[in-house]
Amino acid sequence: MIETLLTPLQYEYMLKAIFVSAVIGGVCAFLSCFITLKGWSLMGDALSHSVVPGVAVAYYAGWPFAAGAFVTGLLAAVGMGFVKTKTRLREDAVIGVVFTAFFALGLLLISLYPSQVDLRSIVFGNILGISNPDIVQVLIISGVTLVVLGFKWRDLLLFCFDPNQARALGLNTTVLHFTLLTLLSATAVAALQTVGACLVVAMLVTPGATAYLLTDRFGKMIGIATSMGVGTSIVGAYASYFFDGSTGGCIVTLQSALFVAALVFAPKHGLIGQRARRRAAALGAGATEVPS
């Protein structure tokens, strides 16, 4: 029994996969706190799809995948900003149009040269087969993201909470906006490796959303989200060995399960807690009122 449980750990590729997933899961979860509070979840989804043509081009050209992904990710972000200010379209329509345009272009490029890039690994991730240079790229992205968040989280928090106050204090909100956008694209690229373009948005939203249900303090929210990101990634990557299934699927299913648990059981903002409070309030009122 124990022997079976330990089998995955005997393979170097499994250890690598677990380690890299944990790093990406933690960084994405940290960032997810800002993304959910800023209301950029849809933006995260959009960027994770928009990086696909960049990844494809980078693989043909032999560049680091992160570089290509990054360029198209930011192009998409700028494109969305441009279309939004120049037209009367609503933001969701703009995001929908722009990111599908990029994603479609990516699919087209990949299908034109199928031998060089594996469509499946981009769309669904392939952490079990991640190459060493790709690991290095992921680690660099994660390191830079952690450093920026570590130093600037208070500014970014204020930017999410009250951008006008940030301006009134003389902070450069344009820089903060693009910092958050850049971090979002960068982590989306990193997460692409583990869970694939389709599920990146889950890594960038679910941990933050879950933690938000569990606490009213930003510090705790980061702690909860990050532990959840790291934990689910380790367990998910490990478990995927036995299912022989999609690693991304495992990780995101775990995260979603935790989200549902929080939704139901969270002490204050969970469904059960809310109902208990409503009932308590009704009972309190019932003392003075005739129940109908």
Binding site: R88, R154, D155, Q165, L169, L171, D216, R217, F218
Partner: protein
């Protein structure tokens, strides 16, 4: 030059502001204020009050004209933490996971280091500011767990902690209980006495003569600006509101000579605004306006 020792001033000259969609919200607006002053910004919804605030805070760049604060550009003034603002309640996400204490400390960011780590000095000032608005006991509360009046006071404490010398309040009395309104007004008077310039946007006309000394009347431009007694007249308000105001004219009402001045005016929520003969503003407390009484007595021969 130390901004604390200089005279505060806000100068808006010929400012035109348009939004990216081409909508010109404010055209050639001008007025000037010297500290200390409490100035009301009065106009109907959509007249450009918030737009003017945004121009003063540097959130919108004027297409023409200039805003100067204490003789500096807006940008320089912001760098010196001269401008503080208290947002409209609707603009704040009250479910955001921050505590009262977190919010007040945000007022100190401009004084903190690169990482915004609060020093003992920042904590002391934040504590003092919270105490000043009577909210120290609530420091650990999440901001959504407060009443409307308490929320307003927390954001006022943030402005105090910032040590802003020009304080902008957007609709401060909407959704606020009477006690808080009184407390806020008392605090604003203290700040005026200390030389600050307070700009308050409001559509509650009756409260304007109660606590403001200056007024700026807005409708897509500045229609009139200056001291309350001169500018806050019936005629100017008619121009500002374009006939949407409701009236109760005593001379056309059933009020008779035997009622004299023993007439009581009641409103449920907002303070009443009363004009005398010729449309000059009347104040609710005689004792506080001896000068005006004297002037009017002289010109009209009344007591």
């Amino acid at each position: 030059m130390n901004p604390l020792s200089t005279e505060m001033s806000v100068r808006v000259s010929d400012v035109t502001v348009s939004y990216p969609n081409g909508n010109v919200a404010l055209r050639a607006a001008s007025f000037a204020l010297e500290g200390g002053a409490i100035c009301a910004l009065v106009g109907v919804n959509g007249s450009g009050k918030s737009t003017l605030f945004k121009a003063i805070m540097g959130l919108l760049k004027p297409a023409a004209g200039t805003v100067t604060i204490a003789g500096r550009s807006v940008k320089a003034a912001l760098k010196e933490n001269l401008v503080a603002y208290v947002p409209q309640s609707e603009e704040v996400d009250w479910s955001f996971p921050v505590s009262v204490w977190d919010v007040v400390l945000m007022g100190r960011y401009g004084y903190m280091n690169f990482m915004r780590t609060p020093r003992a000095e920042d904590r002391r000032i934040a504590e003092e500011s919270l105490a000043r608005v009577g909210m120290l006991d609530f420091r650990e509360r999440q901001i959504g767990e407060l009443s409307g009046g308490q929320r307003k006071r927390v954001f006022l404490a943030r402005a105090l902690a910032q040590r802003g010398r020009v304080i902008l309040l957007d609709e401060p009395f909407t959704g606020v209980d009477v006690n808080t309104e009184t407390a806020i007004i008392a605090l604003l008077r203290e700040l005026r006495a200390a030389g600050h310039i307070i700009l308050v946007s409001t559509h509650n006309l009756g409260s304007v003569p109660e606590f403001c000394d200056h007024v700026v009347l807005i409708n897509r431009t500045v229609l009139a600006a200056g001291p309350i007694a001169e500018v806050f007249t019936e005629e100017n308000l008619q121009r500002t509101f374009g006939g949407v105001l409701r009236h109760f004219r005593f001379d056309e009402s059933t009020v008779q000579n035997h009622d004299g001045r023993a007439v009581t005016l009641l409103t449920d929520d907002e303070r009443p605004l009363v004009f005398g003969k010729g449309g000059h503003v009347e104040y609710s407390k005689r004792a506080e306006h001896a000068e005006i009484l004297k002037k009017r007595t002289e010109s009209e021969g009344d007591d």
